[in-house]
């Protein structure tokens, strides 16, 4: 069963991947190795396909460095559910095709490591027998995720979603 990786409020991009591990500094493209390397050193080794990150408010604040989102894209997580996202991280993660949902209550109700099942059709998550409805994402978000990424979208349609 996939599990929850729980994080608090204001997780900044340096906590996702510290600047010292940027590809520019190390020349190493295996970014997923460095996901949460200082904040949660067990993450990169133990995260499994279908796991979700469940975070508090303002997830991904800080710099515009996209490798924070890339490190998560390259990891096996299925998506992220936060109370809210920082603006640039939201764009970056969405552009790379990471499913992003918002929920005001989930983070306060669930524990780290709990097993979950996700229902994409109804945008809901079930944990310990309780089902939580997630806020629906705007249409253009689905359009991007459906094509895989914004690059795939633009390559296929020759324009931006909504254009």
């Amino acid at each position: 069963m996939p599990r929850i990786w729980k994080f608090g409020d204001d997780i900044d991009t340096d906590q996702v991947v510290p600047g010292r591990y940027a590809p520019y500094m190390t020349g190493d493209p295996e970014l997923q190795k460095y996901a949460f390397i200082e904040n949660r050193p067990d993450f990169a080794k133990q995260v499994k396909t279908g796991d979700w990150i469940v975070a508090g408010k303002n997830f991904g604040c800080g710099s515009s460095r996209e490798y924070a989102a890339q490190a998560l894209r390259k990891s096996p997580i299925a998506g992220i559910i936060a109370k809210s996202y920082a603006r640039i991280f939201f764009r970056n993660a969405l552009n790379l095709g990471i499913p992003l949902y918002e929920s005001d209550e989930l983070n306060d109700r669930v524990q780290d490591g709990q097993e979950l099942s996700f229902d994409a059709e109804h945008s809901s998550l079930t944990v310990d027998g309780k089902t939580y409805a997630l806020k629906p994402m705007p249409g253009f978000v689905h359009q991007i995720i459906r094509e895989g990424s914004i690059i795939d979208f633009v390559k296929k349609h020759g324009k931006f979603p909504g254009e």
Partner: protein
Amino acid sequence: MSQQTLAEKILSHVSNREVHAGDLAVVPVARAMTVDSIALSVMDVMKQLGCERVHDPDKIALFVDHVAPASNVATADAQQKLRAFAEAQGIRAFYDVGSGICHQVMIEEKLVTPGTVAVGSDSHSTAYGMVGTFGTGMGSTDVGLIFATGKTWLRVPETLRVDLRGKPRPYVMTKDIILRIIRDLKVDGGTYKAMEYHGVESFSFDSRFTLASMSTELGAKVGLIEPDEVIKKRFPVPDWLYSDADARYLRRIDLDVSTLDPQVAAPNSVDNVHDVGELKSVHVDTVFLGSCTNARLEDLQTVARIVRGKRIAKGTRLMVTPASRTVLMNATNDGTLSTLLEFGAALATPGCGACMGRSQGVLGAGEVCFSTGNRNFRGRMGSPEAKIYLGSPAVAAATALTGFITDPSAL
């Protein structure tokens, strides 16, 4: 068009239809820029798109400023590739090592135009709002798409309007004002929003930069200042570029700056802000006078005025990293630089320097830094065990003099 905020006005003009907060707009980008630390990712996005030529080389700017000069072989190699890219694509606005911080040079060289959209691969691209440009930061995928297509998508933001009233006391700077706003609104208080500042008529050109650029620390998409005579003297401002009297704001904030004390953000969050007096027992090892937030001529002059003829506190260092070559030249010509050097300052190459903790003044474990920059996250300037306080150049000067966080008016 009516009832529009500055952000709505600009996005309506560039997209040729009336848009309001909440609408999705695909807009032309008048200038897109990237920097040494991100450029390879941007080039990679173009490759993934199968795009060999940038959409318009005259709408792009490239900078080697983040780790400049290069600090190791990986950064040196990346910078070589950026030089080759600029040459091959015919991009004339290429600024190599020593030119200065991207945002500073974008303004100095007038690479941005009021009333247009400019996007940088760096979060502090909100700085361009100081001249009425819709400046915003994005990641490498977005910037790569702009390089390839000349366009981007934006959700038209709601606006928080800030009205400043009163005249600040001596030694109180726009840095203190924006820190005060962040103290109240918190680091996510402006997420997805536009900030719109009014009441800045008495503030200098240089000092406005700090308000616009640090809007990013509120999570804001853009930090706009309605252009007045100070801006019109230097930039072409279209006559429609003002906010309507009946514009709809999400919230209005009135701030009386006349009673404001210097403000200091303590570790490890930019909204952990205190009046300077509350932190006076904090000993500081390194004072960093640098970054796109506060390393302009006016900032260097402010420090020089306070430290002239004196010596730096024993056990404290002052690292001066001018925002650009122009700033450094002007500070050399007017004697500011020699005042700082006589005081005991160390000088670094114009650029980001220690602000991002990769070169030219990286902090070690346990080191305490007072920085005129904009971020004090754990590990931002080097060791995660270092501590970073943020404040104005005036407080930085007083702090370098005494070795402790000091209110300049108490000297």
